[in-house]
């Protein structure tokens, strides 16, 4: 049973409980075993399916140690994190032991500050100290302890180092009194809210800060302990304060904490290679600068265009497709198959116009492979150098500057992931309406990096102007979708990046291994679909349905988009994967069947298509058949609408 008041100022004695908290995978469970080593009771936290382990401390059997689920920060984003916060709000804890990763001091401290503000007696175990030392990370932990006003013990739990010291500190631990100075608007609100907040296991200040950060668990706690009329009063105070602030209150709180931690870490942390870090910090600042950042972004995009578009889609595709496959492999393989398989239907299925080898494998290996290889290499360099998160931060700022806020904007800023996973993560949205809208927006406009790379590479080999027009139109659609999302799905924007990782010289082995892993993933996903697509085309061709499809699609494809009727087939294949459709259109361009304007129109249309058949499957799984069908029809309609409008715009500006 709990019997201790946390804010009493007394030391830890008698009976009670201590919570072990921290980020996931920082060694909490190992430390839990080291500190207890006795019978562990694992049970679901009341009202949830999340498991929490409890056991008596090895040297103080009247004290129960609770191993909580990993938390990144409050407000919680998952059920696990919610349970940890509930535990802190509901149980009168004797103390908190935060287990932090010494390798990631800034990230650890962000959570430390939140916990220390709660006023509960606390100790910070800076774990994985051995790994931190190996990486040249030196932390002046005594100075850090003085500045934060709490005991800090360097530990390597896996080797039992520092465990005894924690046990000893826990016997004499006292409440913490960390007070960060927030901007006046926050301080005034905290003071006002504190009058209305009842006594809680954590400090009223921490409770007020949680409430101001839009934390649902603290709201729930207040509803239970203060009643709905009090919560209404608090909400009115909050709404009034938010009106006078352009930034959300949670952003102001978060930014203040980040500034505090940055200064604190600079004071106590030393990392090897400080000369390079000075240069890297300056470069990092420039890349996110409102003016210089845009110039650097344009230069990086131009470099990407040159390497992926000119070199990958031009030089390498030329070597592979025209020379290796066109002049050597395909004639040799065709002759071999036609000689060994005398049945024309079967040999056609392998090496005919729509043959598995001559079309499916040639598309995948000769066309897609060089483009995605160069794209993934560039992407790997951007990731490993630390530029990618800065690009995201810059885009985030640009989106914010034009008023794009709201929960639905986050997937746009991330924007480089897989739509299939994105659709699953719409579960975090609160209402059915919000989930449906974001699913639609994801299917319509969120680009998958690999598919974008393929389309961009193909356009790059045609001309820079074509690439820029395509990029501009896709960006306009993205912005329009983001604006719509912000209007329809209001809410505070989730903090995208807690901390920007340092800029560094990319490590060649990292970039190469990441590229190889991505290539393997991409080809595993793409090659079977390309072969299925080719088989479908073969059957359609043999049953004379291809000509029929071209005729059916003629009013839309030729009449509205101004493309040759044969393009209908490639749009149809775009339903399997849009890069398969794009590859077919690229081949048409190589055969001089498409003019530059037609290439741009067709590529924009296919870029706005449903990404792949897997995304349709997951929409069906998450929503329903009729919803997924509705989304497919809507996306299809919008893609053709934008494509057609672009055609007339290009004609107006003299493109043919």
């Amino acid at each position: 049973m709990d019997c201790h008041t946390t804010n009493s100022g007394s030391t830890l004695a008698g009976v009670g409980s201590i919570a072990l908290v921290g980020h996931p995978n920082v060694g909490k469970s190992v430390l839990f075993q080291r500190l207890t080593g006795q019978r562990v009771i694992v049970s679901n936290y009341p009202g949830t399916t999340v498991e929490v382990s409890r056991s008596a401390l090895r040297d103080q059997p009247n004290i129960t140690l609770v191993d909580t689920p990993g938390v990144i920060a409050f407000p919680p984003k998952s059920d696990d994190e919610r349970v940890t916060e509930q535990l802190l709000l509901d149980e009168s804890l004797n103390a908190i032991v935060q287990v932090g990763d010494a390798k990631n001091l800034r990230r650890t401290l962000l959570f430390t500050v939140q916990l220390a503000e709660m006023g509960v007696p606390m100790v910070l175990a800076l774990n994985m100290m051995d790994e931190a030392n190996t990486r040249g990370v030196v932390i002046q932990h005594q100075k850090l302890a003085e500045r934060l006003g709490l005991p800090i013990i360097p530990t390597t739990a896996i080797r039992n180092q520092g465990v005894k010291e924690i046990d000893s500190v826990l016997r004499t631990i006292t409440p913490i009194n960390l007070k960060i100075s927030y901007p006046q608007v926050i301080e005034d609100l905290v003071t006002e809210l504190s009058f209305h907040i009842p006594n809680a296991p954590i400090s009223k200040r921490a409770m007020a800060l949680l409430w101001l950060s839009d934390d649902k668990e603290s709201e729930q706690w207040l509803l239970q302990h203060a009643g709905s009329s009090k919560v209404d009063t608090l909400e009115k105070i909050l709404a009034e304060a938010q009106k006078s602030s352009s930034l959300s209150l949670s952003e102001i709180i978060q930014n203040t904490r980040l500034d505090y931690i940055r200064e604190l870490a600079d004071d106590v942390l030393t990392e090897s290679g400080s000369h390079w870090r000075g240069f890297s910090a300056s470069l990092g600042t420039l890349t996110t600068h409102p003016v210089w950042g845009v110039f650097i972004m344009l230069a990086v995009l131009y470099g990407m265009y040159w390497f992926v578009g000119i070199f990958g889609a031009g030089t390498l595709v030329g070597l592979l497709e025209e020379n290796m496959f066109g002049e050597w492999l395909n004639p040799l393989f065709t002759e071999f198959i036609q000689k060994t398989i005398p049945v024309p239907f079967i040999s056609d299925f392998i090496v005919g116009e729509y043959g598995l080898w001559t079309m499916g494998m040639t598309y995948a290996v000769a066309l897609i492979f060089p483009i995605v290889t160069t794209f993934f290499l560039t992407f790997g360099i951007m990731e490993d150098s630390g530029y990618l998160p800065r690009l995201a931060a810059l885009s985030n700022r640009m989106f914010s500057a034009i008023g794009l806020n709201g929960k639905a904007v986050l997937p746009m800023v991330l924007g480089l992931g897989c739509v299939t996973m994105g659709t699953i993560t719409t579960r975090v949205l609160e209402t059915k309406r919000e989930r449906l809208l974001v699913t639609l927006l994801l299917a319509l406009a969120i680009p998958c990096s690999a598919q974008l790379g393929v389309v961009m590479g193909m356009l790059g080999s045609i001309s820079l102007a074509a690439t820029m027009i395509w990029g501009g139109v896709v960006m306009l659609v993205l912005l329009a979708v983001g604006w719509l999302a912000a209007k329809l799905v209001p809410g505070e924007r989730t903090q995208l990046l807690v901390e920007l990782p340092p800029m560094r010289l990319p490590v060649a082995s990292n970039v190469i291994f990441k590229t190889l892993a991505r290539l393997e993933w991409y080809l595993k996903e793409v090659v079977p679909l390309f072969l299925v697509g080719t088989a479908i085309l073969f059957i359609l061709d043999k049953t004379s349905m291809l000509a029929m499809i071209s005729n059916v699609g003629k009013p839309l494809v030729s009449g509205w988009l101004g493309l040759p009727p044969e393009a209908s087939v490639h749009f149809l294949m775009g339903f399997l994967r849009r890069d398969f459709g794009a590859t077919g259109l690229f081949i048409m361009q190589q055969q001089d069947l498409l003019s530059p304007a037609q290439v741009i129109v067709s590529m924009v249309t296919i870029t706005l298509f449903i990404p792949c058949v897997a995304s349709v499957m997951i929409i069906k799984k998450e929503r329903s058949w009729h919803t997924s069908l509705g989304i497919v029809v809507l996306v299809f309609g919008l893609a053709f609408l934008v494509g057609g409008l672009l055609r007339y715009a290009l004609l107006f500006f003299g493109w043919s």
Binding site: I72, K103, G417, T420, I424, L516, L519, W521
Partner: protein, 66 residues
């Protein structure tokens, strides 16, 4: 425990501890892991047979040189 570092936010995590991918229809053979901090998809090179093969080749060449 294999830890990877998110390319977007630098968060270090163990991909096997986050099971959000289990419901993805194309998870088989997928080497991407979703960062629990920011949601960005990071490639897990430990899952790649191509990476393992290349590493083996490099170590064979390296030992041959010695």
């Amino acid at each position: 425990m294999t830890e990877i570092s998110c390319s977007m936010c630098g968060f270090i995590f163990d991909p096997s501890a986050y099971l959000r991918c289990t419901e993805c229809p194309i998870k088989k053979g997928c080497q991407l892991s979703c960062c629990p901090n920011c949601g960005y998809e990071t490639v897990d090179i430990e899952q790649s047979s191509l990476v393992r093969f290349t590493s083996r080749l490099i170590s064979i060449f390296a030992s041959g040189e010695k």
